[in-house]
Symmetry: C2
Subunit: 401 residues, 2 copies
């Protein structure tokens, strides 16, 4: 008799965004004439720029001719042109990697969910609180004991970057620029974690999916800008927010061969991730990788950063608009997320309903990202400008606080 | 101190195809003037037909305009147009499904590797022997005890379709048309497994990735053609071999809500797979799904089946060529794989080296697919016609048996 995996029953009920969708649909059904404005899910809205479209289109046309047709890739870690372009990007940042350190994938969500597979099931895992729900959920689904999870609160008091865990941990998830708080770690802050990890042979999983939104030159876009990180950190990144690939699907992970785990075998973590990916994944789409190469070209970068500037224009408007309403906000400077304190200490879901009912604006309750997110609310800068302005107008006029 | 996952150390050393690549490269290095002909990996070689190229190209162009741009999908299970087209395909086969039974993915490899996650870690799993290595490897990596695996030998004596397992099992992987043996299960053979599964509340994972290669009308292309399968079987399928999407990446799985596991909760397996996919995967590429819709159009099907006919022409040539050499072959009639008995009872890898050295032809050792594959050898029909003919000529002239 087949039995279902009981670890799934230990997950929190449903995923955050389906619940948001449900409440939004209920509101629309009850108020069919109201226009609902979405500042919730971090979904991109702007079309892909010409150079990227050309790259993708050329990827399609290559498949139409026998001379340029390609099937399975030699291994699942990515096409040589794609991996070389990523290598060059890191090189330009002063970071030396080996081609075999780079694993191209279908996105940061898959990688941040699957990476836990290469660690022992009894590992003690530390998470920022609040955090992207996939880190915790994937570890629960894999069968790890959630009683042993270590949560590192990110609060107004610590500037939304955690202190080192008090108990000993094996694996630490860090995300900067942070989803959901919009906080960006400094080199000094990351150095403290890197030193801890090297001293304790712990591993940092660094989610840099929003690194393209950093404009302050002193803030690190990669954890490998911090000395010592190559022996203790895995970095995950994505084309979703840098290039509008949320639906196109492309990302990458760096697992340096220098990383050393408890057993001291150099390169083992890299080898295990290669084995995981080669066994359970068949590579990102060849068409999509051609688009990725175009994103990383000089012209592609120039065009993609225009779109990023547009989104950051939204972020500035949202920040200013909320502040004008007397609301305390964080993030939104080197990150596409605005993390607002709910007015009058309201609970996050209570404010969700209030904002939807009064201003017809959908956001994301902070408590959906963890206990320390309670009393906060996430707004995203990825909207269309007119909608962002309309949402802010409505908040200004209709939200009663 | 982070520790690596010890389950990975229990995997057989390396994946089959990297070893083939290694030996092939060594031969080429030692014999630089020899032309090596590959009939090994099941990789497609023919360009995509015009209707499919148009679908993909239109998918790219939609992303260039704000009106048609799409980002994240509502859920990871696929675009409505894609799911509806699949629903219609099953309907035309007399199979009624619900849209929510269908999960579009980036390919059958991912799905057949990930599906084990929704079953209890202590499940007793049965595999055909020989079989696609991903089934066994993914279960080992998940932490299942390989001492408890049940292997169902597929031999010349049973026509390469297994008898029911003698001990009680919970989950059964079946693949038809079979990779690697090219054997195709009859309705009667599948019915025996379906009845067993329903009687024992076991679950069948049916890999139908090669179903497009079935031309005999009496052979089932879907397990749901067999009465009772909807309450016990998950079906996995792919566009890789039907439409040449080996590099493009698109597949789907069917998890009917009717399936009942031990706990008797109807729809639970469907709900768990939805949770797994929504948490750990962000959907197949929107561009690629537009290509999938084109594949499923009447014109797309017509064009794709011309390519399938071409490959099956290769299969007939390989079968006839080997038989003319006095070699015993199986498969290759309703399947793109030819399963040959090695001459004079040679071991599979011994024959690999002999075929490479004497005829300069690369194939796949049967023992790489399991113990019962020893003494067999897999050839693939996915080559370019001229190369297939050249390989057969070389075998005829140069292979000493």
């Amino acid at each position: 008799m087949a039995r279902t995996n009981p670890t799934y029953d230990r997950l929190a009920q449903g995923y955050l965004f389906p619940e948001i969708g449900k409440r939004t649909r209920a509101f629309i059904a009850a108020n069919p004439s109201s226009k609902v404005m979405r500042l919730g899910i971090g979904d991109t809205t702007q079309p892909l720029p010409p150079t990227v479209i050309s790259g993708l289109a050329s990827g399609v046309q290559k498949l139409a001719k026998i001379e340029t047709y390609t099937g399975y890739q030699d291994d699942s870690s990515g096409m040589p042109a794609m991996k070389t372009a990523l290598l060059e990007r890191y090189k330009a940042m002063g970071i030396t990697l080996d081609l075999s350190d780079i694993f191209v994938s279908d996105g940061a969500k898959s990688d941040s969910a699957n990476i836990q597979s290469i660690f022992d099931i009894d590992s003690v895992i530390a998470f920022q609180d609040p955090a992207y729900p996939v880190y915790v959920d994937s570890n629960i689904m894999a069968g790890r004991n959630k009683e042993k999870f270590v949560y590192m609160p990110c609060t107004e008091a610590n500037g939304f970057f955690p202190s080192l865990p008090k108990s000993k941990v094996d694996v630490i998830y860090l995300c900067s620029p942070n989803n959901p708080t919009g906080a960006v770690a400094t080199k000094k802050q990351l150095k403290e974690f890197v030193d801890y990890a090297n001293a304790n042979k712990a591993i940092i999983i660094f989610d840099a999916a929003y690194s393209a939104y950093i404009s302050s030159p002193e803030l690190p876009r990669s954890i490998y800008e911090v000395e010592g990180a190559k022996s203790c950190a895995i970095e995950i990144n994505s084309f979703s927010k840098e290039a509008g690939f949320t639906g196109v699907r492309l990302g990458w992970s760096i697992v340096p061969k220098e990383i050393v785990c408890e057993d001291g075998e150099i390169g083992k973590l890299n080898r295990l991730w290669a084995r995981r990916q080669n066994t359970m994944f068949n590579g990102a789409s060849n068409i999509v990788q051609e688009g990725g190469v175009a994103v990383l070209s000089a012209k592609g970068q120039e065009e993609c950063y225009k779109v990023i500037d547009y989104y950051m224009g939204n972020a500035r408007l949202i920040k200013a608009g909320l502040e004008a309403k007397g609301i305390t906000v964080f993030g939104g400077v080197n990150a596409p997320y605005i993390w607002m304190k709910t007015p009058n200490g309201m609970k996050s879901w209570e404010f969700f309903d209030k904002l939807l009912n009064e201003a017809h604006v959908v956001g994301t309750p902070g408590s959906g990202f963890g206990a320390s997110g309670e009393g906060y609310f996430r707004l995203s800068a990825f909207g269309i400008r007119e909608n962002v302005i309309a949402a802010l107008d409505s908040i200004q006029k209709n939200l009663k606080i």
